[in-house]
């Protein structure tokens, strides 16, 4: 029942919050929602403390038959892949609720939707049944759509609809893939089973994999299915952006690793070299596009596209180290992008703009946002992979795990890591260095810039995330221990098709453009 609690707590919370008496003060709604989120965080931590890290298989499995006709079973479980993501979901969920304005319009609806997202994502990470996963995956879509469409910026209608259409398409493809599993796999059950695809031909596996890749590729998002993300981020409010970047994108990478890498090993191995190329394109494209952005939020959004590409690279390489790298990178991207969006949110709230062409000198100690600026420097350095922070060790593991399998794509992805420094340094230098200004200089005589102060309440979540980023960067083992055994136990299919393990010195072949099989295009 422990895992069900992680779903039930936010579900009950949703009900309580939405029915909270109207005569009570509105700010209580937020407090109740925060309490629920903290409870669910505590729940996730309790699960984590009981989690046996020596055990590679699913733990705390719960199973209840639901609709037999559909092959739908209420089956939950958690392993080293989903455990850290569960905690991150609850943590960022709590931060998002905490960071929501106390004066938000229609708080009951807003906070119940927030809790609903938390519940749906937890459910998706816990689900051990394809249909159950799909239900949760779709369930998360509606509240997020509403959060953007109702509390978003000026073009919220456009962004929300775009998000909805993309994600719905993603859902259709995923559902199609799932149905394919069962039809082609020949079993009547939708329960997760790594052997499900064993009886399929490579062609069948490949078809399912393509559906799943595009489906989740939209969610991650990967080039060229990414354009909904910058729009959604720009229109979404800060807490929603934190959730979107920190948690919801992880559903995509989780799906690719879980359903692609784990459940379709043969097709995965076959497609792996192409996936590595896809990762490179995504990384470089996201990073280059980020450089040209003038909206801080858009820049962070494009940076997400780049950083999620690393996960695809590592998943494609599929060595034990690389798979571990995917988990580390998911968590570290969640923390870092969460931090960055929080900080951009504070800047926007204080100055009324996110425009890189007009904001200047926010580090100013008296009238600027010096602490926010310092945290921003820490955040962008973490994102750029400066050692001592969690971003570095994740990227190191990703690159180290992928290098022998895909040397050239790995090196190209590292160029992306270099580009991260370029755009984020541009951001920090433009916005935080120089003379304080929040508008273009004009000939008019104007009084000196005056910005409202930033409350400690707003700084607190950012400080907490920053601390976490540093602590996990110095003690990455506290993060990797959850997933180590699980990822080790996975068989690593593409090692067989790619380079020999590290004991033999690599030859020139390792540096040949791409080690894919020559007859790929014929299929």
């Amino acid at each position: 029942m422990m895992l069900s609690a992680l779903i039930l707590i936010p579900l009950v919370g949703t009900v309580i919050v939405s029915l909270w008496p109207h005569h009570r003060p509105a700010k209580e709604v937020g407090q109740v929602a925060l309490l629920v989120q903290v409870l669910s965080l505590v729940g996730a931590i309790v699960v984590a403390t009981r989690f046996d890290i020596q055990q590679p298989d699913l733990q705390f499995v719960e199973s209840l038959p639901w609709i037999d006709a559909l092959g739908l079973t209420y089956q939950l479980g958690v392993d080293g892949l989903s455990m850290p993501l569960l905690v991150i979901n609850s943590l960022l969920g709590a931060i998002a609720v905490y960071a929501s304005a106390a004066t938000i319009q229609r708080p009951r609806l807003y906070f119940s939707l927030m809790l609903l997202i938390n519940m749906a994502v937890a459910g998706a990470f816990l689900a051990q049944n394809l249909i159950l996963f799909f239900i949760f995956y779709e369930l998360e879509l509606i509240p997020l759509y509403l959060l953007i469409a109702i509390w978003g910026g000026a073009r919220r209608g456009y962004a929300a609809t775009k998000f909805l259409i993309y994600t719905a398409t993603s859902g259709i493809l995923i559902l199609g893939g799932f149905l394919g599993f069962v039809w082609l796999g020949g079993t009547g059950s939708f329960n997760y089973d790594a052997t499900l695809a064993q009886s399929m031909t490579l062609w069948q596996q490949g078809t399912i994999l393509i559906a799943i890749l595009i489906g989740f590729g939209i969610k991650i998002p990967l080039f060229p299915f990414h354009t909904w993300l910058p729009d959604a981020h720009v229109e979404a409010s800060t807490p929603v952006s934190v959730l979107l970047a920190g948690v919801l994108l992880k559903l995509g990478t989780y799906g690719i690793v879980r359903f692609g890498l784990q459940m379709l090993p043969d097709a995965w191995a076959f497609f792996a070299p192409w996936l590595a190329v896809w990762a490179v394109v995504s990384v470089l494209y996201g990073s280059l596009a980020a450089i040209a952005q003038t909206d801080m939020k858009k820049m962070v959004a494009y940076s997400s596209i780049g950083h999620m590409g690393y996960i695809l690279l590592a998943a494609a390489a599929a060595t034990p180290l690389a798979i571990l790298g995917t988990v580390l990178q998911m968590v570290s991207h969640g923390l870092i992008s969460g931090l960055l969006f929080l900080l951009v949110g504070i800047v926007y709230k204080t100055t009324g703009t996110r425009d890189l062409t007009v904001l200047r000198g926010l580090l100013n100690p008296e009238r600027g946002l010096p602490l926010v600026g310092s945290l921003m420097i820490l955040g962008v350095m973490a994102s750029a992979g400066i050692p001592g922070m969690v971003g570095f060790i994740s990227e190191f593991i990703v690159f180290r795990g992928s290098f022998l399998t895909f040397p050239v794509p790995t090196l190209l992805c590292m160029v992306g890591a270099g580009l991260t420094a370029v755009y984020f340094l541009l951001l920090v230098n433009r916005v935080f260095f120089g003379r304080l200004a929040i508008a273009l200089p004009s000939d008019k005589v104007e009084p000196d810039v005056m910005l409202p102060p930033v409350a400690w309440r707003d700084r607190l979540p950012a400080i907490a995330l920053a601390l976490l980023i540093v602590v996990l960067g110095l003690q990455p083992h506290w993060l990797s221990r959850w997933s180590e055994v699980t990822t080790l136990a996975w068989r690593s299919p593409s090692v067989a098709i790619a380079q020999p393990p590290s004991t033999t010195p690599p030859s020139m072949a390792g540096f040949a453009p791409l080690p894919f099989t020559p007859d790929v295009t014929d299929d």
Binding site: G171, L179, A289, L321, L363, I377, G388, F432
Partner: protein
Amino acid sequence: MADFWMQSGWLIPAYGLVGAIATLPWSLGLVRRTGQRPAAYLNLVMTLLAFVHGVGAFRRVREYGSQELNWDWFQITDLTLHVSFELSRLSLGIVLLITGLSFLAQFFALGYLEKDWALGRFFGLMGFFEAAMSGVILSSSLFLSYSLLEMLTLSTYLLVGFWYAQPLVVTAARDAFLTKRIGDVLLLMGMIALSAFAGSLRFNDLYEWVKVADLAPLVATLLGVALIAGPTGKCAQFPLHLWLDEAMEGPNPASILRNSVVVTCGAYVLIRLQPIVVLSPIALDVLIGIGTITALGASLVALAQVDIKRTFSYSTSAYLGLVFIAVGTEWPGVALTILLTHAIAKALLFMSVGAIILTTNCQDLTELGGLSRKMPATTVAYITAGLGMVGIFPLGCFWGYTLGIDFFWQSQPALVAVFLLVNLLTALNLTRVFRLVFLGAAQPKSRRAPEVAWPMAVPMVTLVGVTLLVPLGMHQMDLLPPWRYINVTAFVLLIASGVAGVAIGAAMPLSQALARSTQKPLRILQDLLAYDFYTEKLYRLTVVGLVERLSLASSWFDRYIVDGVVNSIGLASLMGGESLKYSVSGRSQGYILTIVVGVGLLVLLTTWRMW
């Protein structure tokens, strides 16, 4: 407990870090009613502790021999990342140099920055800087060295950006970070490859691996070049040298360290990597090439600078070029000798420069003059530093030069010429600057020039003593070659090149305005050197331009092609534009209904077979 000093050697970098963290209450503005000087004192004390600890360990290392401290920091599957330190006479000696110079530079900063308010941040960064540097030197694992080099990159960025409201500082800090970052990313690539090939990243394990390594020549070359890229950036070598010039926008006390020990750290890592770089003869040649180009180019560029800090920062690049040559020719002893002696002399030179800037509010050589009679400490410091830098027997840099010339005498006479030329040009430049700044008539900005106060004078005079005592210290540590190995011809040539440089510098006409020559060819040459061979423009046209174009292209592609296709298909406009428009005003029921119906239909449609 006898080897407490050694066992706890890891504390040496930790002191600086603790000092840095201890400044947070001031630098974050939590302490507002009183001033920030306690932060400075704290860091001075921590640096002194690090120095004392270093001395203790240095004395023990004779007794106990070198010692390695090792921790498995991160262990997962077949990958182990070590945090390990090696305490040897050499590494501890350099650490003493770093902490000692760091102490003097911070002391100097007490005076130089006395009218600056953000002392907490400055000294915190200095502590962090020092911690990273001593860590790099003590580290015996490439992983740790790389991590700490990145810390150096970060703290250089923050130190150069100390006066972040000043427009040129903004670009200088950015360029310092990005240029070094190019080197760092390449080094990271090399490190990832090494880690994958060799397993462990500890230097000793890597040296063992090199013996059995069997890499294809191309792989070995790429690996070698990637490995030397990091130090190339750190040591401001061509083509990654631009940042050091710009970094002179930073506060002078940080420049003291940057021009002496920071570059030393980069070069030290290179020396540690050299046994791995030897896998590729091409990479070694690249090293020599980079070193030669930088040594000669930077020496010439230094001659054309009108800014007192910049002219000497180019000289730093030039000396590090000599170090690169020495490493490339596999004479690490020469490299180390040049590094250490140059570091002391250059630190002193920059202290003297700092005193000049503070007194005259000016960095322009053409606006100074006549300071020698009024500023004894500064003048003596400048002269001593100058003597220490050029090959004057028996002061510091003489030994590096003479060893290098001696070793190259037979095999690579061209490199002998490079060494002699750099010595000549350095002597010439030092003489030129001396005449402009200290001799001649006072100009308006140097008319009233009282000598600096004791917080700056004391470290300066101390370092004068140290510079003069360097040969004695080298003798004590058996670093001097025995007399019979001194090549007399080389000796004479070296002295002669220095004397020639001084003579040319003394004789050459110096128009105070340093006006551009009226002769066209000469003017073109002057401009070429003054603007550093237009490297910045070259960058702007190539790398920067390329990235800029690519990013604009991707952004355009994203907006008009990727997104444009979607929008033109009309999906978004169809739903977002019309049917939902009326409900934007806030009627959420409409939304929910639409979504629920839509999703329900989708699910129904796709699962209809199941029902």
